[in-house]
Amino acid sequence: MKELTKIEEILLVAIWRLDEQAYGVKIRQHVSGVLGKEFTYGNLYSALHQLTAKKYVVKTLGESVPSRRGRRRIFYSVSPGGLEALQNARDMNDKLWTGISRFAFDREKI
């Protein structure tokens, strides 16, 4: 299995965390918070399309809300394949950082 890209990883985690509330607006706001800068819808949907094609997420059509002018939401949820990929990413991250102190790169302390 191919490794997830960083942005895919962030998105999958966001979707998993948001659970019932994982649709465009919430995902974008969440990811923006994580990144510490504005994440655009263009990048969001481009990445979501990739995740959908790789079958890491599944889409369900939601209801319409007045503030959306009658347009329905698409809710995303992480598929079993997606969960597995996340698990792998987590393992890899752990391995990658094992034994490295949180302050290892903190130059001022030295």
Binding site: T40, G42, S46, P66, S67, R71, R72, R73, I74
Partner: protein, 872 residues
Amino acid sequence: MKNDTPHPPKFAGWLLRLAARGEDDFAVLGDFDEEYAELAGTRGKVRAAAWYWRHCLRSFPVLVGDFIYWRVIMFINYLKVAFRNIRKQKGYAFINIAGWAVGMTVCTLILLWVQDELSFDRFHQNADRICRLTLDARIGTPQSAPVAPTPAGPALVREYPEILKAARMERPRRAVVKFEDKEFQEEGVGVTENSFFEIFSFPFLAGDPKTALTRPYTAVITESTAKKIFGTASPLGKFLQMDDGKEYAVTGVLKDVPRNSHVTFNVLRSFETLVAENRAATENWFSISTYAYLLLSEKTDPKALEAKLPPFVDKNMGQTLKAVGGTMTLRLQPLERIHLYSNFSLDIAPQGDIATVLLFSGIALLVLLIASINFINLSTARSSTRAKEVGLRKTLGAVRRRLVGQFLGESVIYSLLAMVLAVLLHFPGLRLFGHVIGRAMDTNVFKVPWMLPALLGLALFVGLAAGGYPALLLSSFQPVRVLKGQLKSGGGVWFRRILVVTQFTVSVLLIISTLVISRQISYAKNKKLGFDKEHVLVVPRISAAMRQSYASVRNELKNIPGVLDVGASSMVPGRGISRSVFFPEAFSQEEPQVMDILAVEPGFIPTLGIQIAAGRNFSEAMGTDRNEAVIINETAARRFGWTEPIGKRFVFRPGPGQTGETIYLTVIGMIRDYHTISLHQKIEPQLVRYNPDSLNMISLRLAADNVSRTLDLLKQAWRKLDPQGALDYFFLDEAFDSQYRAEERMETITLDFSLLAVLIGCLGLFGMSSFTVERRTKEIGIRKVLGSSVAGIVRLLSKETVLLIIVANAIAWPVAYYLMNIWLQRFAYRTTISPWVFAAAALLSILTAFLTVSFQSVRAALSKPADALRYE
């Protein structure tokens, strides 16, 4: 929906809608609106608008890129499915793609050729201002020719200010050119004036275009000739010996003449040479054999100018014309019309014909129509067998748009594959086609800028049309009905029948034409001509010295073993004819009679095997034969009403203003009619004189065996007789039969096209019949269970097709009869259109169609009924 929902900026919204076109477009737009509304509520409209704009602009490129990316992915997916389908149904895919590819190839070839024909002479800078002088003359019989009196060109420039330049040219012919001790056979040795290069755009590679041909005994040669004769050395200033024995200085090298020029040449001698040698001849208004090109000033209307020419002719030639009771009109033929619109029997080079261009364009359209309809039809027929697949896909949740895309994509891909195949096929096709039309085709689709886009457009259009119908029809099916098998595709049956009839009408028409044309050609080649054309070798030009010493030349040649007889004449059959007016006795001065004239010596008539019907041949022993005797042919005797022609006389009175006595020529013999020209022309009255000064050609009758040895001996002997020139010769039968080259070409063309039409028709039939058989599998099974024989089932399945072919024959016969009768009119002597031609065409078409169809139906009929009934 509440009314107080704030509206995001309009233009930004429009931009966003433009960019978000992927499948989740509504979600993107909804998210934008939702977040905007939220922001507008918490932080005010202005900030919300700013946010909206910022995000919109930043998302725009990514959204567009994303959309394009997925489109490409989707297209690749369609491609995959289409290729999978092609692999799954190889036979059908092959028939469909091959048929359409062949159709497109043929159409491409013809269009390339038409484009080539239309491009003739357009490369000259002044193309629209160049005219050629032609004349309509009536001296006895009416005649038209693309030549003009030799002095006419310069005289016109002097008298008409709107004519800027004139150039005279002698017809380029084959000649031997010598450099030092090497001899070269050169095609296209012509004569012209220096102004030729000011009128036309034939660029110089070396030499001065302003002075190249201004002096006598100078010549200009083309690049390839220069390379052939001089290799890499510079030809300028070198001397070439032409077949008149004179040395010519090379003063220029031209780029090779483009193939799409109506006149081609390799060597041009200066016209000044002719002036220097015989000024009087170039100033004789009745020496009418040079071609004259004129350059008109801007905005001169050739028609208006032409109307001003009669006084010019009257001033220079009126008196003499009046004396012989003739008229002559000079005409101006625009350069761009020479190649396609002139139809003179003796043009400067063989030209094309707009009728052929139109005919071919018509055929191209027809082939294209048949092939494209075939393609559409087959795709449609085939797709209805896929109704079930569509039903299944729909129940599994396929969106209609996807299905339409799938079908359209598939047929477009088929069509594009056919196009690629056609482009590949057209390269060998060009060679074949060039062979058919008798001239090399050095163009291809990549050299004509509009050709590839046109082909692509055509392939896309037909692909869309072929996929469009099934795509829209099938995708609209209700899955339940389709899966239950309630779909009938009855429509289009009549359409298919009409298609088959059309295709086979064309095929039968072409088959009949081919047969008639080939019968006429073999008739023309085998008809008794009144002389024996086999084993006659002709030397078409002899030097003045040989003419002087003809008697000894003749003896020398006759002594060669294998040479049976030798004769000389001014012309041989099939090589053109000169005509003049004569006054047979008892005809008044107002009734001049036009006759073919031929000068011979006594050996010619027996050498060619021309029969003497009455009287005697000329004789060397009779001194009076040279000046006072003539021989006529049977047609002449009939025309003049002479039952006893021997002893009748022709009268020559001096014209008005001329002095001299009245001369009488007495008929001493009558020869049987023989064909002096091809069978296109009627035999005309002929007058043969014994005139040693006009002998140009020597004919040798050879023994039938060991011709090559005789030829070797002849070449050796010739070297002794004429140390200056090499032996230039042709065989009379080949030369005579070459007059039917146009017809032979026509035969090849109709043959090729009829094969093609039958092929495409059969491909269509084959596909259609396999489709029918497939649809009727169950019916066939039941019939067999109920006791039908194999033959019975084959009959059932083939009956309709055979009926359609019979209808096609019924339509094609009268049309073919009518057209072929018109075509045969070009021959004065022609074969009849015999009934077996029609029978053969009918048999051939029915047989091929039947075989095509029965290939499928026999297979169906032989299959086990149980398999057929179980096929679901």
